[in-house]
């Protein structure tokens, strides 16, 4: 058991560190280091443009999609080297969010199911950030029940005609391509009639409408398809095999999240070390110390759980459903931590203008954003089901629609 770099790892770390030192956009370092959940934006610049520039530069140096093969724009690095890079990248990691869906989900799906020509065409541009991808899975009638989706794809010779609607699509407003799951056969049970495609988001027949979120920001969208026509060559996997293809995407999602989840712990610890209340320093208060200790051990527990995962990956194990605990724990922590930090602020905790609010309003932003963490990418309840069924081996829920043809499942007209 050790945390030491091997000589090769130490050389890799030194090389990464030197490259970052020479190339990182240091003018944004201070602003990025203060960015936390719900507030990752820059005052005077468009964050997507700054992110694209950083991604491009990293791609030129060979520091993107580290575990992808070199011929597809990656570096062919090991799982441990990828973690070393993440540790060294530090605050600049906050600039990678527009590319995470492409790197973590769409790219691996394309790698598993795309043609060689498509892989050579698309993957290097996902890696370099020249083309951004989004994931078109959720629908108004299929959130947690993804397989309940209704977007139709109908064959028309060598083409498919697509009609329907997706929702909660992060980044669709700036994405160039999207991974799209559709229903191609409504006469068979729901998991069996699905087919996966990829589409050009700039095609005629695709309309993106931003959704104004509960926290006032606009990061995700509704996407409407009206007679979108795409060639059969943009199909990934067999017709009717879309559910299996999507499992590859979601398994890679587990690998891409987890390592660097925000919990809010560092923020509240620092806040409590400095906050003077009417009873003295917050961190000297017994109740506050108890809460901080509780969060501290969850925070360290997550950190060391992800290190155990990396050790398992470097031995060649596949990422398993046990990684679901990361988001389950961190989502609830963010919400609780934000509320407690505001409790310590008293009535002024209501204020959230960065210029006048306590701690520049970071906990208020965290509070308003945190509900989304407990929903997006699998709700807390779905994650508990995954742990119960796939880790502990408990029986699946009784599914009344499992063997019913999709077009005979009751919908109450909605």
């Amino acid at each position: 058991m050790n945390f030491d770099d091997s000589p090769q790892e130490a050389a890799f770390r030194a090389e990464a560190r030197a490259w970052i030192e020479a190339n990182a956009p240091k003018e944004f370092e201070a602003e990025l280091s203060k960015a936390s959940l719900g507030r990752i934006r820059l005052q005077k610049h468009d964050i997507v443009e700054v992110a694209k520039a950083w991604q491009k530069k990293k791609a030129e140096g060979g520091w993107v999609c580290l575990n992808w093969p070199k011929e597809y724009g990656g570096r062919g690095a090991s799982a441990v080297e990828r973690v070393i890079w993440q540790q060294e990248e530090g605050v600049y990691f906050k600039l990678t969010s527009p590319f995470q869906i492409g790197e973590g989900m769409c790219g691996p799906t394309l790698m598993a199911f795309g043609s060689e020509a498509d892989k050579r065409r698309y993957l290097p541009r996902i890696a370099s950030g020249d083309e951004i991808w989004c994931q078109l899975f959720s629908e108004p009638a299929g959130g947690s029940d993804v397989a309940g989706l209704r977007t139709r794809a109908e064959r028309d010779g060598d083409h498919w005609i697509i009609n329907g609607q997706k929702i909660w699509t992060s980044g669709a407003h700036y994405a160039d391509y999207g991974l799209l799951i559709t229903r191609t056969d409504p006469a068979v049970p729901k998991h069996k009639g699905l087919t996966m495609f990829f589409i050009d988001m700039k095609s005629a027949g695709v309309e993106v409408r931003p959704i104004k979120q509960a926290n006032g920001m606009q990061e995700f969208n509704e996407v409407f398809f009206t007679n979108l026509r795409i060639p059969d060559s943009q199909r990934l996997g067999a017709v009717g095999d879309g559910w299996n293809v999507s499992l590859t995407t979601l398994m890679n999602e587990r690998m891409s999240i987890g390592a660097r989840l925000a919990t809010g712990f560092n923020e509240i610890f620092e806040f409590c070390c400095n906050l003077v209340t009417e009873h003295g320093l917050a961190i000297d208060d017994r109740a506050t110390r108890s809460k901080l200790a509780q969060w501290a051990v969850k925070n360290s527990g997550l950190k060391y759980t992800s290190m155990r995962t990396v050790s398992a990956l470097s031995r060649g194990d596949r990422p398993g459903p046990e990684n679901s605990i990361g988001k389950l724990v961190s989502g609830a922590m963010l919400q609780d931590i934000a509320a407690y930090a505001m409790d310590l602020q008293g009535a002024s905790g209501m204020l959230n203008d960065p210029a006048t609010a306590e701690a520049a309003g970071q906990f208020q932003a965290m509070l308003l954003s945190s509900p989304s963490v407990r929903i997006a990418g699998g709700t807390d309840e779905i994650l508990r089901n995954i742990i119960a069924e796939r880790v502990l081996g408990l029986p699946g829920d009784i599914r009344v629609d499992k063997d019913v043809p999709f077009n005979q499942i009751p919908t109450r007209g909605r």
Partner: protein, 375 residues
């Protein structure tokens, strides 16, 4: 980086698990709880023969010299099996105190006896209500003689020797405390068993009356030795707690798969599934904190005090959480004497207090994190 136990250490775990499954079934735990013996002598002998008692004791003192990572592995299995033997008091407390502060003669005398299963040791620290602190130690030592009372002391009624924390000064500083080593057969020492919520491990009171005792470590260094012993024992006991938590989770899972109600296994109800999923989450977080503690313990890292507190808090809560909800999953059967659920519930709640309570370790963790942040 390799943040996992080695293949050899995993083999040791399998060996220990197999040994304990055979020699320490729930029936053996019940024999001690129901009062037929103060501890399982046969098991204790077997543990010595397997070399488990001396796994972290150097070969020169009769141990196997394997090390503390190996001891962590065994601790987890001891916790999983609820082994009713004085392992934690003898190995985590007494042996660690001797290894840290014992004179050459003391080590030569006691460590081989520990490794061979011929001596049971303990640490006499508490004096009634409260958590570890130098201020709470009133038992006086003057001219090499002890006067006062210690309670609760783990396994004191069956111990051959005790490491005793005593007051040798009144300056109000930590240096007022010194440690002594007492042969429990000496004149002026009397131990009396006390009832406790987990009778698989005894607790006792020791009364010292003009009891001759030899110093352990230098005068005035007692508290600093106790603090080190507590940190080391916290990691080891956390492994026992994680072992117990895992077993309680498995028991709940197995029962949820087996028990049919409303025409289906109760494990298919989300209320039960989510309860078990949450138990898995706490047990997993605790295990990861324990691994970090094991690394810090085995390398004597500067991070040990912080890592030990985190492991202790996390494992205490995981074991309490899993033991409590295991009973809940079992429903009424979980509240019977016949089912084993209460054995884990008792152990979880006793262990949560045995080295200082949760709030004590929470305080310690925050102090240590602040110290690191300030540095």
């Amino acid at each position: 980086m390799n943040f996992d136990f080695s293949d050899e250490q995993k083999q040791l775990r399998d060996t220990a698990r197999k040994f304990l499954a055979e020699k320490c079934p729930p029936k053996a735990v019940r024999a001690v709880i129901e009062g037929s013996a103060p501890y399982d002598r046969e098991l204790w002998k077997g543990l010595a023969e397997m070399g488990f008692l001396g796994v972290a004791i150097p070969e020169s003192y009769g141990g196997t010299g394997a090390g503390h990572l190996e001891l962590c592995v065994i601790a987890e299995e001891m916790g999983r099996a609820l082994a009713p033997v004085p392992f934690s008091s003898t190995v985590y407390l007494a042996a660690e105190a001797l290894l840290i502060a014992g004179s050459e003669a003391q080590k030569q005398k006691w460590l081989p006896l520990i490794a061979s299963g011929e001596a049971i040791g303990t640490l006499a620290l508490f004096e009634g209500r409260g958590n570890p602190s130098p201020q709470s130690i009133k038992l006086a030592a003057s001219n090499g003689a002890l006067d006062g009372t210690k309670k609760p002391v783990p396994d004191a009624a069956i111990a051959d020797f005790a490491v005793v924390a005593a007051r040798t000064g009144s300056s109000g500083r930590d240096t007022d405390i010194s440690l002594f080593l007492v042969d429990m057969k000496a004149d002026g020492v009397a131990a009396k068993a006390l009832g406790n919520i987990d009778p698989s491990h005894g607790q006792a009171e020791i009364v010292f009356k003009n009891c001759k005792a030899e110093p352990l470590g230098s005068a005035g260094e007692g508290w600093s030795i106790v603090a080190q012993v507590l940190d080391r024992a916290a990691v080891l006991l956390a492994f026992e707690q994680v072992g117990g938590a895992d077993r309680a989770l498995e028991m709940g899972r197995d029962y949820a798969l087996d028990r049919i109600a409303f025409g289906r296994p109760i494990g298919s109800f989300q209320a039960i599934k989510h309860m078990l999923a949450d138990m898995y989450v706490s047990a997993t977080l605790a295990r990861s904190n324990c691994y970090y503690g094991a690394w810090a313990l085995s390398t004597n890292a500067g991070e040990l005090p912080e890592a030990a507190a985190a492991a202790r808090i996390s494992a205490t809560q995981a074991f309490q959480h899993c033991a409590k909800n295991n009973i809940q999953v079992h429903g009424g059967m979980g509240f019977t004497w016949e089912f084993d659920c209460h054995l884990y519930y008792r152990r979880a709640n006793a262990t949560a207090l045995s080295l200082g309570s949760l709030s004590y370790w929470e305080d310690a963790l925050i102090d240590r994190m602040r110290k690191r942040n300030a540095a």
